[in-house]
């Protein structure tokens, strides 16, 4: 509510300030030439009117929870000690009463009173925040309006603000990444207080015992069966995607006429737009049974849900990825290289095999690594089609399980989030993150090296 109000206020202030800046600087322009155009004066004033307001809003967003907690702490009777479950539930009840959400059971008189008090306190606080923001905005507007002059370098000031906003945006992305990594690491460390890292990283049995009575670790948490499943499915996917993707890229760049390419390329890229869950159905309903029937036909048992099914369908999913990346990379090979080879009397396919592909190879390897990191992180297809059997074996016709599938099962059950059965998801997630990070860095290094070659 407060946020909406402040946003509306900010918009109004911004409009007024801009208008003021433009008209006032126009008036000033009569005397001497302006350093910056009136629009910049307008933008300059608009920024001074809204930035303080938004700053207040930001502080409110960050601190309102803390202020509320502080008020609640002052209302809860002293016999309920902070840090206990009783305390947490009392605080939650107060919050729900204040917001009108309602609570289960009888409301004690002190609770009703405290809840009402909390609601009143927060309303007053909100209104004063809005008032403070408005005051600061108007003050900014008035003070800076007085400072408008023909020599004011409004254009340069606006430039500085734009630069700051851009820096801020990139910091948001970086902070988010750091936040994710930190939360993964802390939960993983918690998991390792239950299960030793050696057992986790080198254990060959995955059989977490589910206990409803305690948070103790029971069963075994060896990740090697999951790693084997992940690697096997990714390898099968690459075996499918690499030849098909690369060859279609070669055909598209070297042989197809522009008209045909304009039709075929978007069609291939449609594959990339299909949601992975749909690939999952396709694997489960079509590919799995078909493979199984084919297995029976040649007298070879293939499970409908198996590493093979998941791998093949994942490979199909990755084809457009490989083909469009390779397409770009092959296109970057200078035409002079191709002409040089053709000019010596090489045929098109000789030129592709002996000059273009070798020249594009580092880039293609980078594309492959990126594709592998996608395959490893892919979830929905394997959830549906791999069979979820976390057993260490190397037969692709049998069901397997992967990191991603196990993370899904660990977090979607009704186990307590503090139990090792759930916490293992974070350890698996971190391992997955490190693997894909390595692959991506490897790919980036290779791709960068390749770029230097032609520039």
């Amino acid at each position: 509510m407060t946020s909406v109000l402040i946003a509306a206020l900010a918009l109004i202030l911004m409009g007024v300030a801009y208008q003021q800046g433009v008209s006032r600087s126009r008036a000033l322009a009569g005397a001497s030439r302006l350093h910056s155009r009136p629009q910049y004066h307008g933008a300059f004033l608009a920024l001074w009117a809204t930035v303080p307001l938004l700053f207040v809003l930001l502080i409110w967003v960050v601190t309102s929870g803390m202020i509320q907690d502080w008020y609640i702490a002052s209302q809860i009777p002293a016999e309920i000690l902070p840090g206990t479950t009783e305390y947490a539930s009392a605080a939650a009840r107060l919050r729900n009463i204040a917001s009108g959400f309602g609570v289960a059971g009888e409301i004690a008189p002190w609770e009703a009173e405290a809840g009402e008090g909390l609601a009143r306190f927060m309303t007053i606080l909100r209104l004063s925040i809005v008032a403070l923001g408005a005051l600061l905005g108007v003050a900014g507007l008035l003070v800076m309006r007085a400072r408008l002059s023909p020599r004011l370098r409004a254009r340069n000031h606006v430039e500085t603000v734009i630069k700051t906003v851009l820096i801020f945006c990139s910091i948001v992305a970086i902070l988010t990444t750091i936040g994710i990594v930190v939360s993964l690491v802390t939960e993983t460390v918690r998991f390792f207080t239950y299960v030793s890292p050696v057992d986790f990283f080198f254990g060959t049995v995955w059989n977490p015992g589910y206990s409803t009575t305690s948070n103790e670790a029971s069963g075994s948490y060896g990740m090697l069966p999951l790693l084997a499943g992940t690697v096997m499915i990714s390898a099968i996917a690459m075996l499918v995607a690499l030849p098909v993707g690369l060859m279609s890229a070669i055909w598209l760049t070297q042989y197809a006429t522009p008209r045909l390419r304009n039709v075929i390329k978007p069609v291939i890229e449609v594959l990339a737009g299909i949601p992975t869950i749909v690939y999952g159905f396709f694997a489960l309903v079509t590919v799995g049974p078909a493979l199984s029937a084919f297995g029976d036909f040649i007298g070879f048992g293939i499970n409908a849900t198996s590493a093979l099914t998941a791998g093949i369908v994942m490979g199909i999913m990755i084809i457009p990825f490989i083909s469009s990346l390779s397409d770009d990379i092959i296109r970057q090979v200078p035409r002079a290289m191709r002409d040089g080879s053709l000019g010596l009397g090489a045929t098109k396919s000789e030129t592709i095999r002996m000059v273009i592909v070798p020249a594009a190879l580092p880039g293609i390897v980078g594309a492959i690594l990126l594709a592998v990191s996608r395959a490893i992180g892919e979830t929905m297809i394997v959830v549906l089609a791999a069979g979820n059997a976390p057993i260490l074996r190397f037969d692709p016709t049998e069901p397997v399980s992967t990191f991603t599938v196990t993370i899904v099962t660990a977090l979607t059950g009704d186990a307590d989030f503090a139990s090792p059965q759930s916490l293992v998801a974070f350890a698996l997630g971190l391992t997955l993150f490190v693997i894909t990070l390595m692959l991506n860095i490897g790919a980036l290094v290779i791709v960068r090296k390749y770029r230097e070659q032609y520039e």
Binding site: D339, G340, S341, L344, G345, T347
Partner: protein, 277 residues
């Protein structure tokens, strides 16, 4: 406008009789008759006819976009590799029509080699750059033969002394001038009769340019060379015959000395004296 109608193939040949003794007896190896080139709807070459004499250097000059490079690319059918490009008219080499259906374009390009504007060595070793052509055409059967061919090609291109101790290094690591001579050596290795050069010195510094020009001078004794150049001084230095192109038409073709000293066409004179182009 151009006084020579582009429909008359004889327009260009009229000038030849003034040739001095050196090329008077030379048999014409390459002849183009009424060649036209279209890029899509746009016509780039308008009915060009000329006879290129054997074992000599013929220079194509003219302002940018006049079609000289496009015309050069007709002789080894490199225009085939450009989408939407159509070539009309007739080009014969040793009396054989290079557009006849039975002609193997791959073999044609081995006989009519090409050196490009920017040095374009493959990202392979110097040795493999030279051996590339002979290998794909099956000209060499053993390692020893390949070694010998690489050595002789590099020697002909005047590069052997500079690179003989580092044949396994990448060709892209050489200097610009060395790279261009490597490309010439690579072309020589497939045993061509004709070498087409498309502004071979435009990306080189003056010293490298003069080395390549000396090389062209030597190669003239064995090969028929056609060179496209932006530099009139270069055309004057290296060629025996010069053709001046303007807006896709052959304006004047004759002995280099005559073109530069005593041009017959006003446009040629204007270009040579720097008034157009």
């Amino acid at each position: 406008m151009n006084a020579t109608p582009d429909t008359s193939p004889m327009g260009a040949n009229r000038i030849i009789p003034s040739a001095p003794a050196s090329s008077a007896g030379a048999e014409s190896r390459i002849s183009a008759r009424d060649v036209t080139v279209h890029y899509g709807e746009k016509q780039a070459i308008f009915g060009v006819s000329m006879e290129v004499p054997e074992k000599s250097v013929t220079a194509f000059i003219g302002p940018s976009g006049c079609g000289k490079s496009t015309f050069l690319r007709c002789f080894n059918r490199m225009n085939d590799t450009i989408e939407g490009c159509r070539v009309g008219g007739e080009i014969t080499i040793d009396g054989e029509d290079i557009h006849r259906p039975s002609l193997d374009v791959v073999e044609l390009r081995a006989r009519v080699g090409m050196v490009f504007q920017k040095p374009n060595p493959f990202p392979k070793s110097i040795y493999d750059n030279i051996a590339y052509g002979p290998r794909i055409h099956g000209l060499v059967k053993s390692k020893a033969e390949t070694d010998a061919l690489v050595e002789s090609s590099l020697k002909k291109a005047g590069l052997w002394k500079e690179v003989s101790d580092r044949l396994d290094q990448p060709g892209t690591g050489l200097s610009g001038g060395q790279q261009q001579r490597l490309c010439i050596a690579r072309t020589i290795a497939t045993g061509p009769e004709v070498i087409l050069m498309d502004e071979p010195c435009s990306a080189l510094d003056p010293i490298a340019t003069s080395i390549v020009e000396d090389l062209i001078h030597e190669l003239r004794e064995q090969y028929t060379i056609i060179i496209v150049t932006h530099s009139m001084q270069q055309a004057a230095r290296v060629s025996q015959k010069t053709a001046f192109f303007h807006l896709g038409k052959l304006i004047e073709y004759g002995e280099t000395e005559q073109i530069f000293v005593n041009p017959r066409e006003k446009q040629t004179e204007a270009y040579i004296t720097g008034r157009i182009g």
